[in-house]
């Protein structure tokens, strides 16, 4: 557990030592602010439903930038060899890195908490729906990070890691758009796999166990695959 925290702390400190972290925080929050204003101005409703949908779409582009370096950078710099020859279990390395990025992502979500404050101040929002939406967007981001981390563990190149993460996440997200061309079991599968259909429920304030299980199981799956992909016994 200590090791997990040590690695997470290192990941966070490395994020904040490069301008990328600040650029990402400022850019993300600025873009969210603009959309928040536009949506509230247009809808004239005290709900964050559409704001969440925009955030989901934005995270599709932001998260791969956050996760691309996780393993690719260490592999390219040779520090992976250092991490793996210290008495640190490979599981702790994976979980530490995941935790580090998750904390950074949570920071973005916390900053967006201001929106709730504003609509609470000027309107009467449905508290549970907003809370559910935040939970949903957090789970979805956690899942995006798990996918990005897994992809990053496959390569030494951050560019390849980012592009592969974009392709994987776009597949997860946009697959729902093609559902109209499908029917029967394929349609059901696409609906079940696409993150868009699950997140739509959260954004609307509908919490169901099935959606939570969907996110948690993909997170678990990706973390496990990451753990396997850095296991030298399997690949050498």
């Amino acid at each position: 557990m200590n090791k997990i925290c040590t690695i997470a702390q290192k990941e966070l400190s490395i994020y904040f030592r490069s301008p990328l972290a600040y650029i990402m925080l400022i850019m993300t929050i600025s873009v969210f602010n603009i959309f928040f204003f536009m949506i509230i101005d247009q809808n004239r409703e005290a709900t964050l439903k559409d704001v969440f949908l925009v955030m989901e779409f934005m995270f599709l582009f932001i998260v791969p930038l956050l996760t691309m370096r996780l393993f690719a950078e260490e592999k390219a710099a040779g520090t992976m060899e250092f991490l793996m020859t210290t008495p640190t279990s490979n599981t702790a390395i994976v979980l530490g890195k995941y935790l580090g990025s998750l904390i950074f992502f949570t920071l973005i979500i916390l900053l967006s908490g201001v929106y709730y404050g504003i609509i609470e101040l000027y309107g009467e929002p449905d508290r549970m729906a907003a809370l559910g939406g935040y939970l949903g967007i957090w789970l979805e981001g956690a899942m995006f990070i798990a996918v990005g981390m897994m992809v990053s563990s496959w390569t030494k190149s951050q560019t390849i890691a980012a592009i592969t993460a974009y392709v994987s996440l776009f597949l997860l997200y946009f697959s729902l758009s093609f559902v109209e061309y499908l029917s029967g079991p394929p349609e059901a599968i696409v609906r079940a796999v696409s993150c868009m259909s699950h997140f739509a429920n959260f954004a609307a304030g509908l919490l169901s166990l099935a959606d939570v299980v969907y996110y948690l199981s993909i997170i678990l799956f990706c973390v496990l695959l990451t753990r396997l992909s850095i296991e030298p016994k399997l690949w050498h």
């Binding site: 040590t6 490395i14 710099a77 520090t79 060899e81 020859t85 008495p87």
Partner: protein, 242 residues
């Protein structure tokens, strides 16, 4: 102390190590010699448990490196070929991070880091960012990281690469200071270094052991300098594969 038994390692069709066996006693300083691509780095990576051998096994202090990786790594210091550093950190931050990963208890971290810094001549530069360090400094930070946990076994892959003559002498003195106390395995292309530091030579060529004996015996057997012996035993190759 270290028992390498019939270790082979292949990468696809390429055989990097071919039935390497060797016993290294506690307190010995052993120099790994060989041309580029002879298998020195691969053998070192297997000893640290970073790569599993394709066949054969390695035990350190009686524990198998594949079966008990964590307990082995606690007793091990390793400097890879390229010093594994994070350019965003300062030297002290990096060593503190390494100390935490190496299971050094929190209250001892400061003292151990200070000791490693002074041993490697880094005390004055400790707050410099690694990104701004010269090659020689980076190499020394790598060595400091390896000796941080007072390991019983030190594995150094080309420890004096990139150092200036004065630093080479310092590192050599550091290694001589480990004599009898720690088992040191080092690889290098500087033959004079082996002559001054090591008591024993393990020479590899094309993944096979071509010489494994104390330096004195090697001289007696072949005559001449270590350089003569190196040329005598190694066949020059046109192309070396890592």
């Amino acid at each position: 102390m270290i028992n390498i038994h019939n270790v082979s390692k292949s990468f696809g069709k390429f055989l990097a190590l071919d039935k390497v066996s060797c016993n290294i006693a506690k307190g010995e300083i052993v120099g790994f010699l060989g041309q580029n691509g002879a298998g020195k780095t691969t053998l070192m990576r297997i000893l640290t448990g970073y790569l599993p051998p394709s066949s054969g096994h390695v035990t350190i202090g009686g524990d198998d490196v594949v079966k008990k990786p964590l307990s082995i790594r606690r007793r091990l210091g390793y400097l890879p070929e390229v010093p594994p550093l994070y350019p965003q950190m300062s030297i002290r931050e990096y060593l503190t991070f390494a100390a935490k990963l190496k299971d050094i208890p929190g209250k001892d971290i400061r003292a151990k880091v200070d000791k490693a810094l002074s041993e490697c001549g880094l005390s004055a530069a400790q707050n410099k960012l690694i990104a701004n360090l010269s090659l020689g400094f980076r190499q020394r930070v790598g060595i400091a990281q390896a000796v941080l946990n007072d390991p019983e076994v030190l594995i150094l892959d080309e420890p004096t690469k990139g150092l200036d003559p004065i630093q080479v002498r310092q590192v050599r003195a550091l290694m001589l200071g480990f004599k009898k106390k720690r088992t040191v395995l080092l690889s290098t292309h500087v033959l004079s270094e082996i002559e001054q530091v090591a008591q024993r030579v393990l020479m590899l060529d094309g993944g096979r052991v071509i010489a494994d004996s104390p330096l004195a015996e090697l001289y007696k057997m072949h005559g001449g300098t270590l350089e003569d012996i190196f040329f005598k035993l190694n066949t020059p190759r046109e192309e070396a594969t890592p």
